[in-house]
Assembly symmetry: C4
Homo-oligomer: 241 residues x 4
């Protein structure tokens, strides 16, 4: 079997969605990429997490989405993942969930403002929300267009996907990404936490505004980039959960 | 013992209610039908899930509700299940719960609008709510009338119970159904998730309207009907959880 | 050891509080009574549930609260339990918690209206809330006065404690009771569920009023009194969880 | 290995954060102090709780924060802990979390009013919130300033940190403390419970005011100080969870 390690990592990230309580039934999916081989590994469509095995992870071509290895049909959201991998070259893993609180923001079509340092530690600014797809975009290549409006939103607003590794798909739910499938999972976990804290914050004080820009920068830079000092020096080549 | 497989499936669906966190104590019940034999299998009344065994599942006649096999008294909600089986011929399983968020919508007597694709994946439009029963309907054949107002609501609004496999009973809680007991369970799990997401969505943005009709159609048809492409082709004769 | 069975039942009811997620740390307590012996068995004060054993349950006199058997100090809420046992002769078990949603209603000093059948199945009308204690009542015999204002509230409003086996102590939390410690536990579990459903219901529709009286009667009488038909006939001498 | 018992207690308090559901991923940290040796033991930075061992706990100097023993980098929040130990001499343990409901109050920059006895049992008055840090305070010695604004807030308002063993850091999250790491953990658990109850209370009744001062005093003094009568007499030298 080729790409055993990639499959294993993608398998682990998919199980992590269940352990973190982000998915029910067969909702959600995680993928990872081998950029040299131009291969994406992704969860099969509609398969129960309880019976999922590493060998069930499907390998598809980054270029045209054809199944390269695997007996199952890949996740129906595969074209969305592929668009994100093609457009965001730093991305090594993508996660999609319908996690309750992040999906609520997506359904309300409101970006999640940065109301605190839990948010600032992982997302350098508000988590954006896409526009609605047009009827034409829904009817043809729906899943690919779902990815394209994310890319469009980041381009329009000049957001670096490394600075804000998450987007809310309008009326649908969150997509997150990272350097690895594990990092995409971590960002999905934090996004759900942040979405939940933000709902409660606005219930307590409806007019709460974002934290000061200097505090946002401080917390994001504690964890990301050359001046980071969070975590262990020995773990720089490891995802820091 | 007759109908061992039906009992087993109904037993599993009842346990699934507990595993999914939809019930506490002995609340809730799941049933299944053998249409050829005109037999409905249902949870016994007021029995703790922790001690429930497949052989405790009671078999009753679809036609008159008499116990055909089993030592216990069937669920007090049995007449509601029977009305649904008689009126909705495609239904193979029925589930009733008092799950917190779906029951809150039933208590508020508000239909759950389709605010996102989690909803659209399983329910093709809003999840309706019944009218109040009259005092006469409450005093005589209460449980049968509970089923009849569900059927009445679907008939009035011209809703196909296969398109929207759920209804909120006013001031009470949700009933869901499906082709099998397992599918009815899945719909109960998704309905609770959808009810919870909708409460949070309206807290964030009180004026949130339903998703566009084209998006509703797209998601429902990805999973249901001849053009479905979600899940594995090999699993068409299996419920897709 | 005397009263081994009573201790065991009280022990089980205390553990049930933890299993149902109604308590954290050493909060909360359950008790039971032997009316012939005029002995109340109750949880020791401030003891961690993880290390609690049946032999730690303390026996006190119904008449004067003195410890009759046991090495520990009884719960600091013991005088409240004793007042309820003395004033409500049908009561065989009492439970006190700070469960999140019921405590929120107690803190808001609002009775919980009967918004649905989950409520009506166990409480025949709104769950009342006490008045504030006076400063004098707080300073002397605080815990006994906590019980007395519950009794006062039921007397004033003409509520039968068998019909509504629960009260919210203003600014504090719920007390529930029943024919046995297990039934008091069941009522505490249902009260928390009902309190949570009611909060969500009012968030969806702030003006939601109580269910019709005929529906309230129907559901309460399905489960209580001579015309009850919920549960198994063989289980009439058992608490029906 | 020196200070094995201190490490063990700090290790246990850190694991307690996970068991109580107060942290996800590697968020949060607990520390403890040996005042005679002027040594603080604290969680290493960014290490997963699942792999944390007692020997990973890092020992630092109370006076200058230098690592005295341990191979890892101490928590990035160490300077905050040190300021609290230096300014509050009765404190033996400190805990920091981003627990959802307490963090929501911190993000809303609203003190948590004392709405009930769960609060009054542990915190003698509202749980205060700090001011924003200035840009200069954020850019230089951020973590030490985070501790200083807590100390400043208590001094300004004349609050004894033994009476109110918790503070909300604006836009960030809660810090709690106690005589031991375990007691700091207990206060973090109760604070999250109290924060959650308060959000629901204000949803039910937005105008809810604090409980009467006499009730606040009564409950706090039942558990703290010379007149305490909660818990077991034999356990006075033990933290009472």
């Amino acid at each position: 079997m080729r790409h055993a390690e990639l499959r294993e990592r993608v398998f682990e990230a998919n199980l992590g969605l269940v352990e973190a309580g982000l998915v029910v039934l067969s909702f959600g999916n995680a993928s990872g990429i081998d950029r040299d081989a131009r291969i994406v590994a992704i969860k099969p469509s509609g398969v129960d997490y309880a019976t999922l095995r590493p060998e069930d992870i499907v390998l598809v071509s980054l270029d045209d989405g054809r199944v390269v290895e695997g007996t199952g049909r890949p996740s129906s959201d595969t074209p969305t993942h592929l668009v994100l991998y093609r457009s965001f070259p730093e991305v090594g893993g993508v996660v999609h969930t319908h996690s309750v609180h992040a999906a609520a923001w997506a359904q309300a079509r409101r970006e999640i403002p940065c109301l605190g340092t839990t948010h600032a530690d992982h997302f350098h600014g508000p988590v954006p929300v896409t526009r609605w797809l047009t009827d034409a975009e829904i009817q043809t290549d729906y899943e690919a267009h779902t990815g394209r409006v994310i890319v469009e939103r980041f381009a329009e607003a000049g957001i670096d996907p490394t600075d804000v590794p998450a987007c809310l798909d309008a009326g649908h739910g969150p997509f997150t990404w990272g350097a690895t499938p594990h990092e995409a999972l971590v960002n999905a976990i934090v996004l759900e936490q942040v979405a939940r804290q933000a709902i409660h914050t606005l219930a307590i004080e409806p007019g709460t505004g974002p934290i000061p820009p200097s505090l946002l920068d401080k917390h994001f830079r504690r964890k990301h980039g050359p001046a980071a000092y969070y975590g262990q020096p020995a773990s720089v080549d490891q995802p820091r959960p």
